[in-house]
């Protein structure tokens, strides 16, 4: 077995040059995911989760640009590859699934077309073989009567089934890495549960690494091995699920967990984070959580470094909740 | 288009042929085309004179009877011989076509009885003495009785009934596009120089010229005035011009009531109609610089007019002078008539009916405004214009008229309007003078051509002295063809392929 991580992201930095100024959507982000591992990437809206995913896929469009860092897939550097080389990797070695199952499939093309083209774009096989692969992939994600379903159009599927089709497409070429960008946010809980089940099974079976982007901590809690928390473009905390969820060090992570209704007594006011996330155009200097942080002090006006403890639990804060190992469970 | 061989002629026509039935609609393009396939008893030469056609001679047997001697040995396209039977049939046929808006019955209605004296002699009787009958006969095409007897207009359009004696035989008709014909080798007269003739319909003038320049066609009619100069200078093409029978003039509302488009200078309606005063009309006539008009607006394609018929036409009065340009005299006359400061007037005219009609109206408006008449211009599409003009909705309206006899023209244009006699049907200005009526009547009932012409001249003299209409100019018809062709310009503006000759 290969000990190298499947994906290594080192000091990734992605910028958007807009008329109003430069937006650093992804700022100095590093993490890695090993074979069969699931990493949860959480954070609030606009914190740069999707852009991290797109950066890995090489799908950042103008005016966006990856301005620095390294992206290694199985040790191969992805940044600097030409467009054609990147295309070959995309959909073959790395796959991505998006949030809205209603929008990701082309409404006017048959499922079979959308599936086989993904095979044919990377493998020199015949139409028949590609169709065979598509059929198998559909069956694997639990779609009944896959042969008939191949001939259907997306609108003939429910939201959950469409998301499964998207997953099947992602799995077609047995990628090393799958990036899931909030694939269950638009679905109701029962459907979400099924998708989670299927993804988990597939990961176990094929050994693909998985990056699961979401802002729902509860999903990450049950699914992931490791978690990375983003705030305003930066990774503010990362570690194993136990480390981050049971003993959060960064005040933001802690506040996020605390604000979940299930962590609060019924009918009582929820613990809330006051204020708003800073505008990406107008980030405060130093700690970006400073304005909303109950522990903030003058030192927070400097950019906090990423501290790592011996167990690999990392955080970016001058005032981490270090010795409070207890869970403030309600 | 493939290069034309010597034996093929392609002609660009300016107006659409609506039907090939020679008795259906009396409009110039149809008549012009029918003349290729059919003959009439009496033909009209390029200068407008009557010459023998299917009849070799004609004479008035008595005051009310005309006799026509038919040409012998004339063969229809189907090989049968033309006889008096066919002639009588052809004269009867127009009255049987009830739904024609432009009926040929105008030329047959004088005939109260007709008989074939023998297969080559026909006698026609009129109710009263009627001089212009031979002229009328130049409008009725002789069709084959055998072919046309039970034929409908559709049969003519499809070619089935299209059996005539003319210089060409019918080949194909694509409505709105072209008519193809082939030479009639049995033709009794001069044989046409062309094996095949294709009459192409190109109604817009600039594209018609372009077709000539591009070699799509060999000859076009009605050359746009704008291009005359350039064409003249181009050695690859020849130009042919001929004063046409069409005269352009103003009808002036002469009724005593308030005239709809006459106002004072400020635009308020006038109670009295100044145009009813002959001095005012004369003043307006004097205000018009006909030389400038013909030279500039018509770009030389017109002759200043004093008559309502063109020079050389039967009944043209040489004694009448073109009204000289005299703005001072005009102003004086206006003052005399009680309008020293002029008045307001709107001129009406059609657009795209006569050569440069819209421009003529504007230019005349220019002239009028110089003698103090505040002039506005309104030009209308034909469909709107004629309806309104006929109901007398205009104060001054432009009209063009072509006829081969002055007495005809006078009857229609200045004769006192009368529904029962059919006089004055186009007398929009409602001019009325019993003396003129009397003279025209005398002319029409004279079977002696000399007397008839004298009456007509006298009538014209009176009417024009009183400025019954204000004549502007006679149009000049024009043809352009590639070098190597010759065409005798025709006064009736028709384009006859059989008269086009290679040089």
């Amino acid at each position: 077995m290969d000990a190298r991580p499947v994906l290594e992201v080192v000091n990734l930095r992605t910028e958007f040059r807009t008329a109003a100024g430069v937006v650093t959507a992804v700022d100095d982000v590093s993490f890695s995911v090993g074979r069969g591992q699931i990493m949860g990437l959480v954070g609030e809206s606009g914190s740069g989760k999707s852009m991290t995913g797109y950066s890995i896929m090489g799908l950042i469009d103008a005016p966006g640009r990856i301005v620095g860092g390294n992206l290694r897939l199985n040790g191969q550097e992805l940044l600097g590859l030409d467009a054609e080389a990147m295309r070959r990797i995309r959909g073959d070695r790395i796959a991505m699934i998006f949030q809205d199952p209603m929008m990701t499939l082309n409404p006017v093309l048959k499922i079979v077309t959308q599936m086989t083209e993904a095979v044919l774009a990377h493998h020199d096989v015949g139409m028949r073989a590609a169709r065979e692969m598509a059929r198998d992939a559909l069956a694997r994600v639990g779609i009944a009567a896959p042969d008939e379903r191949l001939e259907a159009y997306p609108h003939q599927f429910s939201g959950g089934m469409r998301q499964r089709v998207a997953i099947a497409i992602a799995l077609l070429n047995k990628p090393d890495l799958i990036i899931c960008d909030e694939p269950t946010t638009a679905l109701d809980v029962t459907t979400q549960n099924q998708i989670l089940y299927e993804m988990q099974t597939l990961c176990r079976e094929s050994g693909s690494a998985l990056v699961w982007i979401t802002h729902d901590l509860a999903v990450v809690a049950g699914l992931a091995d490791t978690v990375a928390v983003m705030y305003a473009g930066q990774l503010v905390e990362q570690g194993s699920v136990q480390q981050v969820l049971d003993a959060p060090r960064h005040p933001y992570t802690r506040a996020l967990i605390a604000s979940a209704p299930s962590r609060n007594p019924r009918g009582q006011p929820l613990a809330q984070i006051n204020g708003m996330a800073p505008s990406p155009l107008d980030l405060p200097s130093g700690c970006r959580f400073r304005d909303r942080c109950p522990r903030a002090s003058d030192v927070c006006a400097n950019p906090p470094p990423l501290d790592v403890d011996a167990d690999g639990h990392a955080w970016r804060c001058f005032h981490p909740h270090l010795d409070e190992q207890e869970r403030d469970d309600g | 288009a493939p290069a034309s061989t010597a034996a093929e002629l392609k002609v660009g026509l300016a107006a659409d042929v609506s039907s090939l039935d020679p008795h259906y609609l009396n409009i110039a393009p149809n008549i012009s085309l029918a003349s290729h396939l059919f003959d009439t008893l009496v033909l009209v030469d390029a200068g407008g004179k009557l010459v023998p056609g299917l009849a070799t001679s004609w004479r008035a047997v008595d005051d009310t009877t005309w006799e026509f001697k038919l040409r012998r040995g004339v063969k229809f396209h189907d090989g049968s011989e033309m006889t008096a039977d066919d002639v009588l049939f052809s004269l009867d046929r127009p009255a049987t076509l009830t739904a024609s808006p432009g009926p040929f019955t105008s030329y047959t209605r004088q005939i109260v009885a007709k008989k074939a004296v023998d297969p080559y002699t026909v006698q026609l009787k009129t109710a009263s003495p009627y001089g212009p009958l031979p002229l009328d006969m130049s409008s009725i095409f002789i069709v084959s009785k055998k072919a046309a007897q039970n034929a409908t207009t559709e049969d003519f359009n499809s070619g089935r009934a299209l059996v005539g004696t003319g210089p060409f035989k019918f080949a194909a008709f694509a409505r709105g596009d072209r008519v193809d014909m082939t030479r009639n080798d049995q033709y009794w007269g001069d044989k046409p120089a062309w094996d095949k003739v294709s009459m192409r319909i190109i109604t817009a003038s600039a594209p018609r010229l372009a077709a000539l320049l591009a070699g799509d066609v060999d000859l076009i009619e009605t050359v746009p005035t704008a291009d005359l100069a350039k064409l003249k200078a181009n050695p690859k093409f020849t130009l042919e011009q001929r004063t046409s029978w069409r005269t352009i003039f103003w009808h002036v509302d002469q009724q005593a009531r308030r005239s709809p488009f006459v106002t004072d200078r400020a635009g308020k309606p006038l109670d009295k109609n100044p145009l009813a005063d002959a001095r005012v009309r004369l003043a307006m006539s004097k205000a018009i610089d006909r030389k400038a008009l013909t030279a500039r607006t018509m770009e030389g394609l017109a002759l200043p007019a004093s008559n309502i018929v063109a020079p050389g036409i039967f009944g043209y009065n040489d004694a009448l002078q073109v009204e000289a340009y005299d703005p001072e005299g005009a102003k004086k006359l206006l003052a005399e008539a009680g309008y020293p400061d002029g008045f307001g007037l709107t001129l009406h005219g059609p657009n795209n009916r006569y050569i440069n009609d819209e421009r003529i109206v504007q230019t005349v408006a220019q002239f009028f405004s110089r003698i103090g008449i505040v002039t506005k211009v309104q030009t209308l599409p034909l469909s709107v214009y004629f309806t309104k003009a006929r109901t007398g909705e205009f104060s001054m309206a432009l009209l063009g008229w072509g006829t081969l006899a002055a007495d005809f023209g006078l009857r229609t244009l200045v004769g006192t309007p009368n529904a029962s006699t059919g006089w004055g049907t186009w007398n929009w200005g409602r001019y009325s003078n019993p003396k003129v009526d009397e003279l025209v009547k005398s002319a029409l009932s004279s079977v002696d051509a000399g007397k008839r012409e004298a009456y007509a001249r006298d009538a014209a003299a009176i009417a024009l002295k009183e400025v019954a209409v204000i004549p502007l100019h006679h149009q000049v018809a024009s043809w352009a063809m590639r070098r190597g062709l010759a065409y005798p310009g025709r006064v009736d503006e028709f384009t006859f392929a059989h008269q086009v000759r290679p040089q």
Partner: protein
């Protein structure tokens, strides 16, 4: 489907009724056709006879009822000017106009879509901007002016193509068609281009807007995530989605194409029904005008039907019964 067709037929009948009534009123308001058509030498009696022969002496409402009666029996009347059945007259000219309009449509799609795609993919590039700027010419210059310019350049100056007329035709099932012969094609090219100009510009614009819109969609991003080649993303994913609005507008435009064929037909002496209708309007040949409009409305209905069928072909989400 049956319901849908029935609904269409009901609506069409209503449209045809209103339309014909409007034409009757309109022509009545313009003037009296007899005054225009009548022979200069005709007298009052002849005039009255003709007016009666055309039925114009009747009150307007009776003329209209009579027309309806005849129309129900399939008879749209005889042309005043041509003395032949009006419908036949129109149908005689119909193929030429249809051929011209269809060629123009084809041309605008064949030229417009590729250019529009290029402009849509590179909206800020030099090529894209040039295409958009030049395409404005299609909107700006009056058709008749451009037509004559085309004749000037390609027929008169260069002598490559004929200046006017329809050229040689081949009769297929009794319908004369010119695009089947070389000569016919040569005659067809300039007028079709002239007529197509406006629509080329329109299709370019639509395609560009559609492409830009489609490129923002998640399914395009997903297609890229699948590692598809650009050519496939554009040629299949984007194109098939933008065809829907293009088909809609182009079909709608077909009507105005036929209406504007009048100008092109005049300039190129193309023997289509546009020239016929404008002449008929000039002489107030009411039966022809009515027959023409009936045909056009029917054509519209057919086109709309075809578009709906195309929709369900292009867009599986649309089912016929739901189309309005």
């Amino acid at each position: 489907m049956l319901t849908f067709l029935t609904r269409r037929v009901l609506q069409s009948v209503l449209v045809l009724l209103v339309m014909s009534l409007l034409v009757f009123l309109g022509v009545y308001a313009i003037g009296n056709p007899v005054d225009i058509l009548i022979s200069p030498d005709a007298n009052q009696a002849e005039r009255a006879k003709i007016i009666a022969a055309f039925g114009l002496d009747q009150p307007l409402w009776r003329q209209y009822l009579l027309f309806l009666q005849n129309a129900a029996a399939g008879n749209l009347g005889r042309s005043f000017a041509f003395a032949t059945p009006a419908l036949g007259l129109i149908l005689e000219r119909f193929p030429a106009t249809m051929e011209l309009a269809a060629s123009a449509m084809l041309l605008s799609v064949l030229v417009g879509i590729p250019l529009g795609l290029v402009a849509g993919l590179r909206p800020h590039g030099l090529v894209g901007k040039t295409i958009m700027t030049v395409s404005i010419l299609g909107f700006s210059l009056p058709t008749f002016w451009v037509g004559l310019m085309l004749i000037m350049v390609f027929a008169v100056k260069l002598g490559w193509l004929p200046a006017s007329g329809r050229g040689e035709t081949v009769s297929v099932l009794g319908v004369p068609l010119s695009f089947l012969t070389v000569d016919g094609l040569r005659h067809l090219l300039l007028p079709a281009l002239n007529l197509a100009l406006f629509n080329i510009a329109l299709v370019i614009r639509l395609t560009r807007a559609g492409a830009q819109e489609a490129l923002q969609q998640d399914y395009v991003r997903f297609a890229r995530a699948k590692g598809l080649k650009n050519s496939r993303i554009i040629g299949v994913h984007v194109l098939k989605n933008i065809l829907i609005p293009i088909v809609t507008v182009v079909a709608l435009q077909f009507g105005s194409l036929i209406a504007f064929a009048i100008v092109t037909e005049t300039v190129f002496a193309w023997p289509g029904m546009g020239k016929l209708i404008i002449d008929s309007i000039r002489v107030l040949d009411r039966p022809v005008i009515v027959a023409y409009l009936m045909l056009i409305v029917t054509l519209f209905i057919v086109i709309n039907l075809v578009v709906d069928l195309l929709y369900s072909f292009l867009d599986p989400r649309v089912r016929l019964a739901e189309a309005k």
